[in-house]
Amino acid sequence: MNKPVKPEETGTILKVVGTRPIRPDGVEKVTGRAAYGADLHLPGMLIGKVKRSPHAHARIISIDTRKALALPGVKAVMTSADMPDLAAEHYEAGESASNLKDLSANVMARGKVLYHGHAVAAVAATSNAIADQALDLIEIVYETLPHVIDVEEAMAEGAPILHEQMVTAGLGETPTKASNIATKHRLDRGDLAAGFASADVIVETRYSSAAVHQGYIEPHACVASYAADGQTQVWSSSQGHFVIRGLCAKLLKLRFSDVRVIPAEIGGGFGGKTTVYLEPLALVLSQKSGHPVKMVMTREEVFRATGPTSASVVTVKMGAKLDGTITAAQVDLKFQAGAFAGSPVGAAVMTSLACYDVANFEITGWDVVTNSPKVAAYRAPGAPNAALGVECAVDELAEKLGIDPVAMREKNAVRNGVRAPYGPVYKNIGYVETLEAIKSHPHMAIPLGPNQGRGIAAGFWFNIGGESTVNVSINEDGTAIVSTGSPDIGGSRASMAMMAAEVLGIGVEQVRPIVADTASIGFSTVTGGSRTTFATGMAVVQAAEKLVIDLKRRAAETWGVEIDQVVWQEGAAHCLQAEKAPKGALTLAALAGSAGKTGGPIATVVALNAQGAGPGFGVHVCDVEVDPETGHVTVLRYTAAQDVGKAIHPAYVEGQIQGGVAQGIGWALNEEYVFSTGGIMENAGFLDYRVPVASDLPMIDAIMVEVPNPAHPYGAKGVGEVPIVPPLAALAIAVRHATGVRMHDLPLSPSKIRAAIDANAL
């Protein structure tokens, strides 16, 4: 692995931060002991299963559950009639806001089914087999309706309408006619016409990408227990148990204090586990049956009813002067939202030109409902789709102008002091440094052979801060416990322990990090938005610093000196007046052992809303070889440079970068939702929904550029999302240079590439 590039030295000498200790959750995970969502078993527990729609769009005429209920072993059957009929209300859930009315109708269809796989009823029974049988006994009469899945078809005049009440917002006036377009987004600056008029070269291009799933290995799973006194407990695998609590409480009109959510270990989320599917159903079934209920999705259900991210169509018109200066850009983004409004097109609008300092632009986004599962957040939601169009357009421009693609990006790069297209003025960003890291990387000097091509693309993500609560306590032997409310999906327990160890001056193995349940710690929003190391990490550092002050006070009292006469170093209090401390320094263990005499337990809590998350930039270069006869793409090498602020645990930062690239390669080459003419997903399994396997990927070289974020105690920026932004474009551009054909529709599967090569040869 490459050494981190350090454009600036931070000056502080760090002992733990920046090292690569073994993760504290590692042994449990690799030995199979870690308890994931499906691993809990409670006495008297029932199995819950969901009856799903066989149609892509239909009105529910009637549901008859009597036969199912009569089956021995069936303890409860539910439909949307068993859930409160909620008014439209927005609920902020970390990265994505939810409309509670829509969410309720998504977890259990109300009146209409809007996609194949939409939940219509659920049962709880004493065994899997009985639950399956009960599902077959539920009789539902549907009136099928025409459906629409393609985003442009859904926008067209005369398309089947999903929501009769929905009119397009953001048009400036309120239309009277129902539409599948939920919202039009707009961002603009300068004078577009003048910008294009001053351009020497203009490209106009269109790129589309298919719906792809987050593809986490662990299917959604939970256990819910609804006690007779109204207190409930939910064990579930999610990216944020406080959000699960909030959504369950809101959807079922429960008091927050009556819902305790205990986080299970999580087997991947990538944004897709920031909402609820099963938990409210399991609670209703538990209440109705009087038993705890476990619900576990199959992989097929995961594909049909959760995730994915939007299919999209992006058109870009971009003009530049002969020297490469981009004078104007017009971007149009059409995003499939699935059954309910709320695609990530807003973020796509804001990120699309975020790497470019362009005086004149107009960006339009369309949030469009379709008869497919409601999209969920997926790593940098919206940004990869937008970058596909914009980065490919920049490549086309650079090619026309005969300018090197890295130089083209440098020429137009945003720098500190430039106002981002989405509003704020950039500070402490490391985009130019990241471009520089790629430019000087040996990868760029490797010559290419026949049928090989190189693609370069950049990407941006905001990164967020947000609300976190952290508890740090010192045990009687001087070891520490760090409790957070942030589920660990990418090695955050290790990073939290490291930051606490750094401040306390002890070894990282002395710190035990845990993820506490909703009743054991204050509110913390989801692990999402690349926020946890930044925001929760900030709270950890502040809490540890508070403890150090407390420890110094205790030492000062012991020695009978003023607190300013005590320094904290290497995990011990040292007295500046040596004569007052004849026995020398007071270690953390000594102070902990005598805590009862100096004020009692040593513990503190910090709750904050972290501000100042530094935006992240990445620049990727990839080389591919295309077999012109089969259309098969081999990714030969891949280098990803990213400004990470400061890598707290470099191995896990590299892991994030490599993981994002791997998912991006899948998105670019083979992953896609394939729908039948009846609107049924035809490849709802990992055999035909092709995520890359290990042998599909080269070593992904992760280059960490460290331009510190002054808002974080150690300079950290979010790192988890940026790396999935450039790969779609990087691969598309590399394939173009390998084949001589520009392909505009992802995925670039072998059959499409062969067809494009054949068409080009005619």
């Binding site: 089969t630 080459l669 396997v693 072998p750 067809a755």
Partner: protein, 288 residues
């Protein structure tokens, strides 16, 4: 609720009897059958595990050829000291099935009798002119591999019948085979098209016999006689290969589905047959 019983007979007769039942299914490695039972696609009332029957696992040389027990797993094929030297195409085809874990279970009989048009070992076995030894209520019989599968999910085996062994014929000098498949990924995938080629050459590298078989381009694997014929008497010169490729394309009757268009499958089958022929020829020339 339907009950599923499991039987593990230790003789052919016992197995024949057990398999004569209405919805009994033979089990070798289980890598197809158990997946199908779990998903509800197969609903047998009895599973008859054949692996304890003597001879069903193992490879022996016989009359200059090989007899491979029908339940022998892929890993055993590749570990055999001489099989892959003489039939590298058959072994590489069988070894493409699944992953290391799957290779410890998956058998040739299961791959054939699952009757998927895309089964990887089948075109290689057909090109190799392999036969099956079939046990049944009327005793044992032998049949060419290409006669077993009659359509997707369908075989010509009758009630109580099962395959006990595959026979690979004796091989002269300067003979070899090869199998190639196209998948969008690099492993853990299902063939969009596959091609097996088996050749025997004279001392000058001229084809004395040639057999070309295709997978995933028709309801069953195809033996394309014209394609083999195009190579006989040639040293695989470009004209010969072009004629073979034409014969391959003419024989293809693929469907368009989520795994590839009919047009793509046809083109790829020709590409794979061409490449496999060249590999088989080069291997044959190196044989003593």
């Amino acid at each position: 609720m339907a009950q599923l019983s499991y039987l593990s007979p230790s003789s052919v007769d016992e197995a024949v009897k057990a398999l004569s039942g209405t919805s009994a299914r033979a089990l070798s490695g289980g890598t197809d059958l158990l997946v199908q039972v779990r998903s509800g696609r197969a609903k047998p009332d009895q599973i008859v595990d054949l692996k304890r029957i003597p001879g069903l696992i193992g490879i022996r040389a016989e009359n200059g050829g090989f007899v491979i027990g029908s339940a022998t797993c892929g890993a055993m094929l590749s570990e055999h000291p001489t099989l892959s030297k003489i039939w590298p195409g058959v072994v590489e085809a069988a070894n493409l099935i699944g992953s290391t874990q799957v290779q410890g279970r998956a058998s040739l009989a299961g791959n054939l009798c699952n009757a998927s048009p895309a089964a990887d070992s089948v075109p290689a076995l057909i090109a190799a002119r392999a036969t099956c030894v079939i046990a049944g209520p009327a005793g044992t019989r032998e049949a060419a591999v290409e006669t077993i599968v009659t359509g997707p999910g369908k075989t010509s085996l009758t009630a109580g019948e099962f395959i006990i062994a595959f026979k690979l014929p004796p091989r002269g000098p300067k003979a070899s085979d090869a199998y190639l498949r196209m998948i969008p990924r690099t492993e853990m995938d299902i063939a969009v098209a596959g091609a097996g080629v088996s050749l025997a050459l004279d001392a000058d590298g001229v084809c004395l016999s040639a057999h070309v078989a295709l997978g995933a381009v028709a309801p069953t694997a195809l033996l394309v006689a014209d394609a083999g014929q195009a190579l006989i008497g040639t040293r695989l010169e470009e004209v010969a290969l072009t004629r073979m490729a034409e014969a391959v394309r003419a024989a293809c009757q693929p469907i368009s589905d989520k795994r590839g268009t009919a047009d793509y499958r046809t083109k790829i089958a020709a590409v794979l047959a061409h490449r496999a022929a060249v590999i088989a020829w080069n291997r044959a020339k190196e044989q003593a």
